[in-house]
């Protein structure tokens, strides 16, 4: 069973629907027992970093997530969930979970697209990811596959954690982590078949290492 961490930050139900479609057992929950019982955790999120961290701290969830991941429980962060895994964010100047070293930066208005025009912010729509490190999570994907992004800030983790790169006025890190602790800036639950493949691969991984 996968636990989708519920901290009132938006897209838990989209993730749940995608997992249901894949016939992967899951639960949207913040209960300590359910998180403890889960084979893996999915950390979703839409919204602003400041508000999300407030919700995570108030419910004691921040500490629980840290403890579980330290003990080796697999975790997949999505969008805001991915950004919150780092130390801090320029968004609301917020200190975030610090599961992995790095920070989140704002897309600057000065950035230019390939045609010399300013890029549109937020970065919204379909884009490719250049996967630069191997992982069981991208098994079966093609280099031409695209993923759905919606964000105004981007992760900038420690260099050795960078796993995938995407271009939007600059080349930013769109996938990072290490084995068992992965972060995706895009929404796999809204990225059609390749996104569903990643969710399926994550579930397979969680059940293997259980």
């Amino acid at each position: 069973m996968l636990a989708i961490i519920d901290y009132q930050a938006g897209n838990q139900t989209s993730v749940k629907r995608a997992l249901d479609h894949l016939q992967i057992e899951s639960e949207v929950t913040s209960s300590p027992e359910a998180l403890e019982r889960a084979d893996g955790l999915i950390f979703p999120g839409v919204g602003a970093a400041g508000q999300a961290m407030k919700a995570l701290r108030e419910g004691g969830l921040a500490e629980r997530i840290k403890t579980l991941t330290k003990a080796g429980r697999p975790l997949l962060g999505i969008c805001l969930g991915c950004q919150i895994m780092l130390d801090r964010s320029e968004e609301n100047e917020t200190e975030t979970l610090g599961l992995l070293p790095g920070e989140n930066l704002r897309f600057r208005k000065e950035l230019e697209d390939c045609d010399g025009r300013p890029v549109r912010i937020p970065h919204m729509g379909w884009n490719t990811v250049k996967f630069i490190k191997k992982s069981p999570l991208w098994a079966g994907l093609q280099p031409s596959d695209q993923f759905y992004f919606v964000h105004g800030y981007y992760p900038s983790p420690a260099k050795e954690l960078v796993m995938g790169l995407t271009w939007h006025g600059l080349e930013f890190c769109s996938v990072f982590g290490r084995e068992g602790l992965w972060a995706l800036q895009f929404h796999p639950e809204k990225s059609g078949p390749p996104g569903l493949t990643i969710l399926k691969n994550f579930d397979d991984y969680c059940r293997e290492v259980k």
Binding site: S14, D20, G47, R117, V119, I121, P122, G125, K190, L196
Partner: protein, 258 residues
Amino acid sequence: MLSKRVIPCLDVRNGLLTKGVKFQQNLDLGDPVEAARRYYEEGADEIVFYDITASAEGRGIFLGVVERVAEAIFIPFSVGGGLSSVTHMRDVLLAGAEKISINSAAVKDPWLIAKGAEAFGSQAIVLGLDAKKVPVSASIPCGYEVVINGGRTPVGLDVLAWARKAEELGAGEICLNSIDADGTLDGYEINLTSLIAGSVGIPVIASGGAGRPEHLHEALSRGQASAVLVASIVHYNQYPIKTIKDYLASKGLPVRRL
């Protein structure tokens, strides 16, 4: 590099499509959920639903449609038509849509944009903007006037000024529909599209007038649009999404292909 999006638009009344949508093998579908599933499988980048039912009862039926769509497709979709309060917006988002499109209600109460953006984030708020060409005047300096109620009622607002204001208030995207081009199949109104897309920093979806893949290319290149809304051009199976994407790619535009 960010792909240009192709977005089929489906009109729903009392839970059914207002006009059937034809797919391969002359399959004619009236169920919005099945039509959405087909477009998802054919490679649509997003889908827009307009609820043209006005009644409270119709709204309830429509929310059921939104829920079933959310279970069937795994790409973003947006919903518009008669949304006039933050409560309505929340209902639709909770039912599973990613974005809500507001039009007349935002003209009547611009703060609705700000309230929606604050509650759900700018990425969830699309401003639907219907524009009509008029003589340039002191009150309409850009030569396009905002109209509401499906194009019937001019409101005396300059389209460019309104687009900029909506961006300031927190709209995440503008779906820009030309009332003059709508239904003509003669192509998008490119002057209007490039005027607005060149003046705001948020993505603009061109709408109204698409009849051939060349029209889409024009809106996405010269028109500077980030996305194109398509209806008749795809609904009658004349140009499947794949044919359209292949054409756009052959012209050098970044598109997502399955």
